[in-house]
């Protein structure tokens, strides 16, 4: 049994020690907001926060996360939208939207660490892949959220 604290709620899951958090979230807990894009820490579609750090959940076994605080896209906005989500809506960032849970989680983490990021900070922190090409709006929305 692995005990996970996700979005403030404790879940007990009976999984193998090497099962990545991504699949525990998606297939065991049915929290499908976190996406599978590559499975090898390349694309960032699966990004979640673990103890305040952005992490690619496809490449972290859930079993090593016991006792840590995990936040997923579903837990980002309990009552009111996070300012990053609001900026995403204001700038109409998503196209197909598939990469956007990961993009948003990465952007939130960036702003937590650097409330006023420069373009270079954005380049360094936002390595997520978006096939629809929303990058120019991602950048604009991060700057807008930083001002919000």
């Amino acid at each position: 049994m692995v005990k996970l604290n996700i979005n403030g709620k404790v879940h007990q899951v009976d999984v193998e020690p090497d099962m990545p958090l991504l699949w525990v979230l998606r297939d065991i807990l049915k929290m499908t907001g976190t996406k599978y894009g590559c499975g090898v820490a390349q694309c960032g579609a699966c990004t979640v926060h673990v103890n305040g750090e952005a992490m690619r959940s496809c490449s972290v076994p859930a079993s090593v996360l016991e006792g840590k605080k995990i936040t997923t896209i579903e837990g980002l906005a309990a009552t009111k939208l996070h300012k990053v989500q609001q900026a995403w809506i204001d700038h109409e960032v998503p196209q197909c939207g598939y990469c956007q849970s990961g993009m948003i989680m990465a952007a939130v983490n960036l702003l937590e660490k650097k409330p006023k990021p420069t373009d270079a900070d954005i380049d360094a922190a936002m390595s997520n892949i978006c096939r629809c090409g929303t990058y120019v709006r991602v950048r604009a929305a991060i700057h807008a959220a930083a001002k919000a």
């Binding site: 099962m19 390349q42 990058y135």
Partner: protein
Amino acid sequence: MNLNRVVTSRRHFLKTSAAVGGGLAIEFALPMQARGQAQGTAAQEVTAWILIHPDERVVVRVARSEMGQGSFTGLPMLVAEELQCDWKQVSAEYASTTEQMKRNRVWGSMSTGGSSSIRTSHEILRKAGATARQMLITAAAQNWGVPAIECVALNGVITHAASKRSTTFGRVADRAATLEAPKDVKLKDPKDWQLIGTSQKRFDIPDKVTGKQVYGIDVTLPNMLHASILQCPVFDGKVKSVDSSAAEKMRGVKQIVRLDNAVAVVADNWWRANQALKLLKVEWDEGANATVSSQSIMALLSDGLNDTAIPNAKKVGDVSAALAGAAQVMEAEYFTPYLNHATMEPQNCTAWVKGDKVEVWAPTQNAEAAVAEAAKALGVAPTQVEFHKMHLGGGFGRRGVLHDFVKLAVLVAKQVNTTTDVPVKLTWSREEDIKQGAYRPVSLYRMKAGLDAAGNVTAWHSRIAAPSIMLTFQPDRVRNGIDTNALGGFIDMPYTVANTQVDYSLKQPHVPVTFWRAVAHSQNPFARECFLDEMAQSNGKDPVEFRRALLKAGDKNLLVMEAAAKAAGWSVPLPVGVHRGIAVQDSYGSYAAAVIELSVSDQGEIDLKRVVVAVDPGYVVNPDSAKAQIESCVVYGLTAALYGEITIKEGRVEQSNFYDYPMLRINKMPKVEAVLVPTGGSTWGGLGEPPLSPLAPALCNAIFAATGQRIRSLPIKNHNLKKV
């Protein structure tokens, strides 16, 4: 069970509600395909396209697919413009494919490809809006006993000025729904449009920022099993034998399914299925294709170019004579590679086989084609398929005509032996997705041009060797060995050259090919527009001036070139070390030109500074979405030009994931300026693909300006660039 709220009986007195009728309870909340959920109130279907609720909410049915391009909002805007409803009350839902079959294809084409959603349905949709408006007005007029002609509708309110009476769409919708639809309705003059041409918020965005949007890959059903698949790595190969002893022992594994050309593991979650899949020992019958390589394909294309009996697709004047008499003859070969679509959402489909029926959930660009494929796989009539179209995590042509993911899901689900029928979700790993695509074709070009002493082009001979997409999907479109679809940009070249000839050699290696964003217009412009740049540069002419001399006055290619050049400040010198290139291409009814500015470092690294794209799509419905499509094409086009390459070794694809099929990321992303110059007229052009066409040539022309190196084969990453 239907995920889209859809009417299931005849047109008159139709009612609909959010309640999901029949079947088993579904585990997840219904996706909010519509903005604003119907709260169980009865809605009236005024026409097949339009539902009106008593509380004034208007639901517009959308036949095409939403894959990020904004059709789920843009198409309803066309309806609402003529309906004269209150836009704030409008939401969208997918037209049901089941109803489409029952009701004689009342929604027309469901295909979402060729940048066609708006350009091929704007008239039907505007008419649908105008028709419903007239019916609503007639209903109100009948209620009041006044002539309909004296009533007007605005923002969902119908008014009869003379008697100072007014009512709302919601209050008369039930009566309107009983009326015969008028045959001829008059559409507004474009100058009177109030909604079309204004930027409206896309309906699908709110759920895409909270993780609520349910994509095909997220479908979750009671007792659902998960499958991971391995298809024969050599296309067209077969399974010879499978040793599944290790895989079967893995936790959660329910069954190993063997198909003709693939093996799948079915388990209680996908990760377990995929882990077990890696333990299978499969022996393949790879067939004759196992010796094919990128080199052998190149040799095949080369043979095609040298074929003396190569068919002629176009001939104007006499190129041979003109070349013989030219002061300068230029010749060059260009090459573009195979490309994978790499939709961010890997291929997937959920199938629930129930005897001779099947229920299917899939992301598709063409729901009717998906239904046909599911029916064929099960060996039943299409009416036995209940289909749920899901928003797509990217399409780009991969999910258009080819529904291999649907077929395989149904075949796997059919074989699953459980005591009760259960749904099976088949998800391809990214590796499977890269290796089992249908690809943008390779192509090899031999360009030959003759110029006179003043540097005017007198002859242009284009010879193209490439696979044909039509040969697979619509073989009757290949005539006398020619697939004109592969020749866009050449057979309709806008430049005035007295002697032109286009030859085409159809060479079809075993690698499957399909439509890939902009199709032939993703590659032909690279050869055409770079070769034209070669002609200009070798004569010391400005590339804009050189093109201007070859384009007829009034040609929209000229117009967008001028617009792009102006926005980019073409005549203004650039800072030291910064260089630019330009290219022009029309496709899918739209005209596009791009200017790219960049610099190249001493180490040969490209720093993309700025991309300006000007597009004339005739009309623009939702300008912000239109700009987003231009931005999208810039990324997709630059990614392909810089990095995109699928290579073949021993009959199989060599690449497997984003580490060897790299993507442009934000750190390399230039500034993008999207310039919309709609000129109206009778043609509505597309926006999902045309802006991509000039990207690769504009980029390579800029690289030439920066380095003096002419890139004649893509991708650019294979070249060692040096600064001049």
